[in-house]
């Protein structure tokens, strides 16, 4: 069975490494990008099954990248989890408005992240099967 591809997007090596540690034990192929532009490009090229997207990044932030990924035919159905330092309602609302599927706050809680990743990947599997 094909490993699920997850695209990790963050300009912080600390967070990328942390996310890799959390997800490495699962049956996932992990791809990385360090800004929004790269995330949009890699989403189209690699067709990941899920994207973890940081909000504040150089070149292009997470909200804009999320909107562009949602706007493109080839990538619009990929689930996106926004990773944010700000859990305030306004920030979360902005994430939903730009089309994110879910969000987690930093510092990342590994149990919470794993649960969300598993749920979204299972949902996607069910969607594909239908």
């Amino acid at each position: 069975m094909r490993k699920k591809k997850i695209l990790l997007v963050d300009d912080s090596n600390t967070i990328l490494m942390m996310e890799k540690f959390i997800l490495n034990n699962g049956p996932y192929e992990l791809l990385t990008a360090s800004n929004g532009e790269e995330a949009v490009r890699r989403a189209a090229e690699d067709q990941p099954d899920l994207i973890l997207l940081d909000v504040i990044m150089p070149k292009m932030g997470g909200f804009e990248a999320c909107r562009l990924i949602r706007g493109a035919e080839a990538t619009r159905s990929i689930p996106i989890i926004m990773v944010t330092t700000r859990g305030e309602a306004a920030n979360v609302e902005a994430g939903w408005a730009n089309g994110c599927t879910d969000y987690v706050t930093k510092p990342i809680n590994s149990v919470e992240l794993l649960a969300k990743v598993r749920n979204l990947l299972e949902d996607r599997l069910a969607e594909v099967a239908q």
Binding site: S12, T14, M18, I22, G87, E88, K106, I108, V111
Partner: protein
């Protein structure tokens, strides 16, 4: 017919009738004995079935008890698994922090990494990093989210921060106020010498308290950030030719 003959005929008739009656009784007795045997056999069968049913009920009760035990064990294992996953994640955090601190000899890069660790692994965007000289004067090396002009320098042992730092111990307020006061003061130490400090002010809005892992991260930063910065400073000086490489 004479009276005697009549009497004989009556007796014969009565004897026959009695004999028939006796035969009837014997047949009925046979039938009843057969029925009784059937009833007794049925009773034994029912008793066996009852016993089997009681045994089945007992077995069912035992299995129900075992199922409850297994469910309880399962819940314990699930809780243990989650705890182990959390511990593993905590260890990963510590590993990532120490790894990132030692991936560069560039001073600015290390200061950025310290900020990243505090932002992403501890959860604060109000940070000031100080470096000290031989005479105990500490100057701001880097800050984010705080008014740097208010926090340019301090002397070891003087003022709130200087006094906290002098103890050489990590100060951390587990349930800090949200008014921007100091949440943590982490001395950067090489041996017993305090070479710098990391000050953490307000935590992120959704983070209400410090966890045991945060204390471990502070302890790790106290040593690893200090050595990383010290090495980077030496490296910078060696490149500038002010100390031998």
């Amino acid at each position: 017919m004479s009276a005697e003959r009549k009497s004989h005929a009556y007796l014969d008739q009565t004897r026959r009738e009695l004999s028939q009656y006796a035969h009837g009784l014997l047949r009925e007795n046979e039938r009843l004995r057969a029925s009784l045997a059937i009833v007794e056999s049925e009773q034994r069968r029912l008793e066996r079935e009852l016993k089997q049913r009681d045994e089945a009920v007992n077995e069912l009760d035992r299995l129900r008890g075992r199922l409850a035990e297994i469910e309880q064990e399962n819940a314990q294992y699930a809780a243990q698994y989650q705890q182990i996953e959390q511990q593993s994640s905590n260890l990963s955090n510590l590993y990532v922090a120490s790894y990132q601190l030692h991936t560069s000899m560039d001073r600015q890069e290390i200061l950025r990494t310290i900020q990243e660790i505090v932002i992403n692994l501890i959860g604060s965007e109000e940070i000031a990093i100080f470096e000290g000289d031989e005479s105990g004067n500490f100057t701001l090396a880097s800050s984010i989210g705080v008014d740097g002009s208010r926090l340019r320098s301090f002397t070891l042992g003087e003022g709130t921060i200087g006094r906290r730092l002098k103890s050489g111990e990590v100060f951390a307020e587990d349930f800090p106020n949200r008014d921007g006061r100091l949440t943590a003061c982490v001395p950067l130490k090489i041996g017993d010498r305090i070479t710098g400090a990391i000050l953490v002010f307000r935590l992120l809005a959704h983070k209400t308290s410090l966890e045991p892992l945060d204390h471990e991260l502070f302890e790790l930063l106290a040593v690893h950030a200090a050595t990383a910065l010290y090495s980077a400073n030496l490296h910078q000086k060696s490149l500038a030719g002010t100390v031998p490489a």
